[in-house]
């Protein structure tokens, strides 16, 4: 089944210069391994195509059930140089939750995600 990250995670994002950071947190600890497996650097880079012009880095925080992404060259120069409404990347958090991932039905069933 296809499922949107909105159903699996919450998030907060912020800025450091022209880099946006996106912290993606599993809504339940049991979803975390799936996020680690599916929400890869490549998938995130593809998801933010046209927004993130630089590289994407990913860090794992298993203690928090969270992944931290750094999206370089994403904020129109960053800080006061940026002309963007969201110069601080605050809404990258909700933007990542738009992503859809594909789960084997059996796994979705086991996690209680099949309705």
């Amino acid at each position: 089944m296809r499922i949107q990250l909105l159903k699996l995670a919450h998030a907060r994002s912020g800025d450091k210069g022209d880099t946006a950071n996106v912290g993606l947190i599993a809504l339940e600890d049991k979803y975390y391994p799936m996020l680690v497996r599916e929400v890869t650097v490549e998938r995130v880079k593809e998801h933010f195509r046209g927004i993130c012009k630089g590289k994407v880095e990913r860090f794992e925080l298993p203690n928090l059930g969270a992944l931290n992404f750094l999206l370089h060259e994403s904020l129109g120069g960053g800080g006061t140089l940026s002309l963007m409404t969201d110069a601080q990347g605050k809404t990258f958090s909700t933007a990542i939750l738009r992503m859809e991932i594909e789960l084997p039905d059996a796994e979705a069933q086991a996690l209680g995600l099949m309705i």
């Binding site: 950071n21 800080g79 006061t80 963007m84």
Partner: protein, 455 residues
């Protein structure tokens, strides 16, 4: 030694809820109030204020706040750490002193003043000696913007504030100090932690990170179950209950709104996070992958297990420089074909800017209501979208060009597509851009100064 101390976060940024620190003092027991006033470019704003008025250049709000809470702080034995001094720590301290006199509190407490963060007068010396202060993001040497620099300050850590507290200061005022240091310093002072007790220093640092954005850890901007968050109108700001072993509980005053739950703490922990293994401060390197959280009661989250490592040999420098001008113009287009009309207006505007021969480094168009924040991820706009705000922003080195741009927005109402409004604010304002230049400097170059004044 106290078994625990309560450190309250009172401001998440310069301009946060004015009553929040007052309520932290009045609505329950606390031992310390920490106040973070300095965002990355705040120093340059203060520098400008000081160049017009030598007695200015600090967070004036702080002085007003002191007028409100100083009597209670003395009566209840609450100490304050604040980086309110900006580029004029002495001026800020003098203003607080005169408030103390007015309130009849002269001689009743000590003020601690931390300076030594301002390196503006030393920049040429550094550059001459090969300390290039390269931009941490772009790797360019500072020399490329030397003539446009407006302020240059080192981020000082907790230790100078610890010295001030050890010497009896009740109110500690700093210039550019790290927000985490404002929380860590009281812990070191109370519990006597050693300068190489990396795990505890990291704990205090992460406690600081959790409360440095005010209510953002106690229910504000919380995505998790946001509809269920109780009474945000009366949101309680976060409080750290720290123990000598470095563990702590995040909580808030009873009876206040918002919530302190594990998901709200997790959201704040990942905020503005870089590499979680290496959260660098002047005091230590904190490892966020070691943080453990558990519930200890309603609105009480216990934080433990934190590990840290020795601090690096560098301090971060915050330099601001003038980087041209910008302006933002907006108009609102209504149904029908709102998005199409806004796009047509944008094309007309750009054609006119071209014909005028205006040159900008960047012209950015966003359609608020369609794709301003999620860009291409927002998908195609509905043909029935009820209204769209056209938002055009320009940036460039030439003030006159940006000024000319601002005169082209309102005329679109009578000379462009129909069904438009939202120009009542008049011409957009031209804003000088003060940009941020992060760099590193060897620690041994910087000597913080601590002064104690009998108020």
């Amino acid at each position: 030694m106290k078994k625990s101390i309560r450190i309250a976060g009172g401001q998440g940024f310069w301009g946060d809820l004015p009553d929040a620190p007052v309520r932290q003092v009045e609505e329950g027991p606390i031992d310390y109030l920490m106040l973070d006033y300095l965002a990355e470019v705040t120093m340059s704003i203060m520098q400008k204020q000081r160049s017009r008025d030598p007695s200015a250049g600090y967070a004036k709000d702080f002085v007003g706040l002191m007028r409100q809470i100083l009597p209670a702080c003395i009566e209840k034995d609450i100490k304050v750490t604040a980086n309110a001094g900006g580029v004029n720590v002495e001026g800020c301290a003098a203003a607080v002193q005169s408030v103390a006199h007015e309130l009849g509190l002269a001689g009743k407490f000590r003020l601690g003043i931390v300076t030594g963060d301002d390196i503006m007068p030393r920049l040429d010396d550094f550059i001459a000696r090969g300390i290039e202060l390269r931009n941490m993001d772009t790797d360019e040497p500072l020399a490329t913007v030397r003539d446009r620099i407006q302020s240059a300050n080192v981020y000082l850590g907790a230790w100078p504030m610890v010295e001030a507290l050890n010497r009896g200061a009740r109110i500690v005022i700093t210039g550019r100090a790290t927000d985490t240091g404002l929380t860590l310093a009281p812990m070191i002072h109370e519990f006597g932690w050693a300068a190489d007790d990396w795990n505890r220093l990291a704990s205090g640092t992460i406690a600081g990170h959790i409360i440095e954005c005010g209510a953002q850890s106690s229910g504000g901007n919380c995505q998790y179950e946001w509809r269920s968050i109780p009474n945000l109108a009366n949101v309680g700001f976060p409080i750290i209950e720290a123990a000598p072993d470095g563990t702590f509980v995040v909580t808030k005053h009873k009876g206040t709104g918002g919530w302190v739950i594990i998901p709200s703490i997790k959201e704040q922990l990942v905020y503005e996070m870089g590499d979680p293994h290496e959260y660098l401060t002047p005091d230590c390197v904190a490892d966020f992958t070691t943080v453990q959280l558990e519930y200890e009661g309603t609105d009480r989250v216990r934080v433990f297990g934190i590990e840290g490592r020795p601090a690096t040999k560098f301090l971060k420098v915050s330099i601001s420089y003038s980087a041209g001008y910008k302006a933002v113009g907006t108009l609102v287009y209504s149904w029908p074909e709102a998005y199409e009309k806004a796009q047509a207006a944008d094309r007309i505007l750009r054609t006119r800017l071209d014909r005028l021969g205006l040159k900008f480094d960047q012209v950015l168009t966003e359609f608020v209501g369609v794709n301003a924040v999620h860009g291409p991820l927002a998908g195609a706009a509905s043909a029935e979208v009820p209204e769209v705000q056209l938002r055009v922003a320009v940036r460039g080195p030439n003030r006159a060009a940006v000024e000319r741009f601002t005169k082209e927005i309102a005329p679109l109402v009578l000379t462009g597509p129909p069904g438009v409004t939202g120009f009542a604010g008049g011409r957009p304002k031209v804003e000088e851009i003060v940009a941020y230049w992060p760099a590193l400097i060897p620690k041994e170059e910087i000597v913080p100064r601590v002064e104690i004044i009998e108020a």
